[in-house]
C-alpha cells in the first residue's frame, strides 16, 4: 500500500515536471536553443504571483502574471536571442545562462533568499480519501490535470492551428518557411512566448506545492531537462511520460529514505542515458 501511494504521488508530481519541461522542449524543438534560464523564468513567475497576491486575489494575480511571461518571452526572443541564432550554438547558450544569473540575482535583490510560497489557502490542504491509507491531494491532482491538458492543448495547437503549423514549418526548414511567407523571427518570438507562458504555469503550481527561493531555478531546470531526456527529444507526449517516470522514480526513492528522492530521480535519468539514450518516446521520423 505504501508503494501504491508512492507511485500515485510520483505520477501526480510528474504532471508538474511536464509543465516545467514542455516549454523547454518546445523552444528546443523550434529553434534548437536550450534555454538554460527556463527554470529561473518559472521561479520568476512564482515570485510575480507572490508579489501581486499581496494586493489582489490569487486568481487575478495568476491571470495577470502569465501573459506578462509570454510578452517577456516574445520580447527577449526578438530583442536578444534572434540576433544570436546565426552565431552558432554557443551564443544562445551563453546568453540564456546569463539570463539565469541575472534573474536569480534580481530576485535575490528584491525578495532576499528567504523561502516563499504561493499561498492557495484551503486548496493546498484539501484531499480526497480513496481508501484507508490512500489519499490524493486536490492540488497535486489539479497540477497533474493541468499538465495533461497543457500537453493536449499544445499538441492540438501545433497540429491543427495555423500558427502551430507555421511553428512546425519553421522548425523543419526555416529557409523553406521563409519562402512561403512565414516570418521566422516572429514565429520564434511566439515559440518563446508559449514556452515561458508554460514555464510560468509550472512555476506558479510549483510555488503552491513547495517553498521556493531565488536559487531554485536551476533545480527546476534540471528536473525539466531530465523529463525531456527520459521522454525523448522532440516529443511533447514523451516529455509528459518523462516527467511522470521522473516523478515516480523520485517518490519511490524518497519512500526508501527521504534524502534519496532527488538522487533516485537522477539515477533513473542516468539509466535511461545508458540503456535507452533516444528516450522512452522519441519523435518518429517522417511524422
Amino acid at each position: 500500500m505504501i508503494w501504491t501511494n508512492a507511485i500515485i504521488q510520483g505520477l501526480l508530481t510528474g504532471g508538474l515536471y511536464a509543465l516545467l519541461a514542455c516549454g523547454l522542449s518546445l523552444i528546443f524543438g523550434v529553434m534548437r536553443i536550450v534555454n538554460l534560464s527556463h527554470g529561473d523564468f518559472s521561479i520568476l513567475a512564482a515570485y510575480g504571483v507572490v508579489a501581486l497576491a499581496m494586493h489582489t486575489n490569487l486568481i487575478l494575480a495568476i491571470v495577470l502574471v502569465l501573459p506578462v511571461m509570454a510578452l517577456l518571452g516574445y520580447l527577449l526572443q526578438r530583442g536578444v536571442l534572434n540576433r544570436s541564432l546565426s552565431k552558432g550554438a554557443l551564443t544562445p547558450l551563453l546568453i540564456t545562462f546569463a539570463f539565469s544569473i541575472i534573474i536569480q540575482n534580481i530576485l535575490l535583490q528584491i525578495f532576499s533568499s528567504d523561502n516563499r510560497s504561493v499561498q492557495s489557502g484551503r486548496f493546498a490542504s484539501m484531499s480526497f480519501k480513496i481508501s484507508k491509507n490512500l489519499q490524493i491531494g486536490a492540488l497535486p491532482l489539479f497540477t497533474f490535470l493541468v499538465g495533461v491538458l497543457l500537453t493536449l492543448g499544445l499538441h492540438y495547437f501545433l497540429t491543427h492551428s495555423r500558427v502551430g503549423r507555421a511553428l512546425r514549418a519553421s522548425s523543419d526548414d526555416p529557409g523553406a518557411a521563409d519562402l512561403v511567407g512565414i516570418n521566422n523571427r516572429h514565429i520564434y518570438g511566439i515559440a518563446t512566448a508559449i514556452g515561458l507562458f508554460a514555464a510560468g504555469i509550472g512555476g506558479v503550481l510549483f510555488g503552491m506545492r513547495t517553498q521556493f527561493a531565488p536559487s531554485f531555478g536551476p533545480i527546476a531546470l534540471i528536473f525539466a531537462f531530465e523529463s525531456v531526456i527520459i521522454g525523448g527529444l522532440g516529443s511533447l507526449w514523451g516529455t509528459l511520460i518523462g516527467g511522470i517516470v521522473l516523478g515516480i522514480g523520485q517518490s519511490i526513492g524518497a519512500q526508501i529514505q527521504p534524502s534519496y528522492g532527488v538522487l533516485a530521480g537522477h539515477l533513473v535519468f542516468i539509466a535511461i542515458l545508458i540503456f535507452r539514450p533516444q528516450g522512452l518516446m522519441p519523435k518518429q521520423k517522417g511524422k
Binding site: 528546443f28 544570436s84 552565431k87 544569473i101 540575482n105 531546470l221 531526456i229 542516468i270
Partner: protein, 335 residues
C-alpha cells in the same frame, strides 16, 4: 613577378617572447622572497582563475564541448586531496598531483555517459552529473557530509612557509596547464580539435576520430580542473560541497573565457585577469555584481563575439605560436 608565400607559425613577436616568458617565470618563482603574504595569496587566486579559464576554453573553445558541469572535477579534485592528505596521510603536494589523476580516472567513464548528449543538452547533462556527485559526497560521513571538512595537512606548518608552498604549487600548476595547452594545440590532436570545432561532419569525413579526440580533451581538461580544485582547498583550508560543486564556477569560467575571447590561448588568460580586477572592484556590491557580469557577458557575446583579446589584437598578434599563418615573401615596393 611571381609571388611566393611562406607558411610560418606565429609572428615576429614570437622570436623575442621565449626570453620574456623565461624572465617572467624566474621573476614569479622568486616572488615569495620579495612580496609579502597578502600579495602571494592574491597571485594564487589569479593563478587558479587562469587555470580554470584556460581549461574551460580548451574544452569549449577548442573541443567544442560547452559544459556547465566542470565543477564536478573541481569538487572531485578538492575532496581527493583532502582524502589523500588528511585521511591517508600522503604528502599534500604529491596528493595534489594524484587528485588530478583521480579526476582523469573519473572523467573517462563519465565521458561515455555525457557524450550521448549533444549541444545544449550536453551542457545540462554535465551539470546533472556534477549535482549527482555532490549528492553522493554529501552522503559520505568520512568526508564531512553536507557541512564539509577542514583541510588539516598543513597544520604543523608556519603561515609563511605554508603560503609560499601554496604559491609555488599554484605556479607549478599554471605553468603545467599552460605549457600542456600550448603543446597540445601545436600537436596533431590540437589540429584535429580545431577541425572538429569548425565542422564536426567535415572533420569526421576527413578521417578525424571525433569522439576519441573529444574524449581525450575531456579527460585532460578534467585533470586540470582537479588541480584547480586541489589548489582551492589548499588556499581555503576547507571544502564544502555546496561551494565546491557550485554552478557559479561555470558561470565565472564562461564569463572569463567569453570576455577574453573564446578559442584563443591568450584570450582566456586576459579574461581571467580582467575578471580578477573586476571582481576585486565590484565585490562590495553583492548581487548587483553578478547582474553586471551577466549583462556584460550578453553585451560581449552579442556585439564583440571575438572577445576583448580578439578586439585588441585584431587577430594579428599571437603570443603563443599555435596557428599557422601565410605571409607573402617578396613584397613589391609600393604595391
Amino acid at each position: 613577378m611571381t609571388i611566393t608565400y611562406a607558411v610560418s607559425r606565429g609572428t615576429k613577436i614570437n622570436k623575442i617572447l621565449p626570453f620574456v616568458f623565461t624572465a617572467l617565470t624566474i621573476a614569479l618563482i622568486a616572488l615569495p622572497k620579495v612580496f609579502a603574504i597578502p600579495y602571494q595569496v592574491k597571485f594564487v587566486q589569479a593563478f587558479i582563475l587562469i587555470i580554470l579559464a584556460t581549461m574551460w576554453n580548451l574544452l569549449a573553445g577548442f573541443g567544442g564541448l560547452v559544459s556547465i558541469g566542470q565543477q564536478a572535477f573541481i569538487g572531485i579534485g578538492a575532496y581527493s586531496l583532502v582524502y589523500l592528505a588528511d585521511i591517508q596521510g600522503i604528502n599534500p603536494f604529491i596528493g595534489l598531483v594524484l587528485a588530478a589523476v583521480i579526476c582523469g580516472v573519473f572523467a573517462f567513464p563519465l565521458s561515455f555517459l555525457v557524450f550521448r548528449l549533444s549541444g545544449g543538452y550536453f551542457a545540462i547533462g554535465t551539470w546533472v552529473i556534477a549535482e549527482i556527485i555532490k549528492l553522493f559526497v554529501v552522503q559520505v560521513t568520512v568526508l564531512g557530509g553536507g557541512s564539509g571538512i577542514s583541510f588539516g595537512a598543513f597544520a604543523g606548518m608556519g603561515r609563511e612557509t605554508r603560503i609560499a608552498a601554496i604559491y609555488w604549487s599554484a605556479l607549478a600548476a599554471i605553468f603545467l596547464t599552460l605549457l600542456s595547452t600550448i603543446l597540445l594545440m601545436r600537436s596533431k590532436l590540437g589540429l584535429a580539435l580545431t577541425a572538429i570545432r569548425d565542422d564536426q561532419t567535415a572533420a569526421g569525413v576527413l578521417g578525424v576520430n571525433v569522439l576519441r579526440n573529444r574524449r581525450t580533451v575531456f579527460v585532460l581538461v578534467s585533470m586540470g580542473f582537479g588541480l584547480a580544485g586541489g589548489l582551492v582547498t589548499m588556499s581555503n583550508l576547507r571544502v564544502q560541497p555546496d561551494d565546491i560543486f557550485s554552478v557559479n564556477y561555470s558561470a565565472i569560467m564562461i564569463f572569463m573565457v567569453v570576455i577574453g575571447g573564446l578559442g584563443t590561448i591568450e584570450g582566456p588568460i586576459f579574461g581571467a585577469i580582467f575578471y580578477y580586477f573586476l571582481q576585486d572592484r565590484l565585490k562590495d556590491y553583492g548581487t548587483w555584481y553578478l547582474i553586471i557580469l551577466g549583462l556584460l557577458g550578453i553585451a560581449i557575446v552579442s556585439l564583440a563575439p571575438e572577445g576583448l583579446w580578439g578586439w585588441i589584437s585584431r587577430n594579428k598578434v599571437s603570443f603563443f605560436a599555435t596557428k599557422y599563418r601565410i605571409s607573402q615573401m617578396n613584397k613589391e615596393k609600393g604595391a
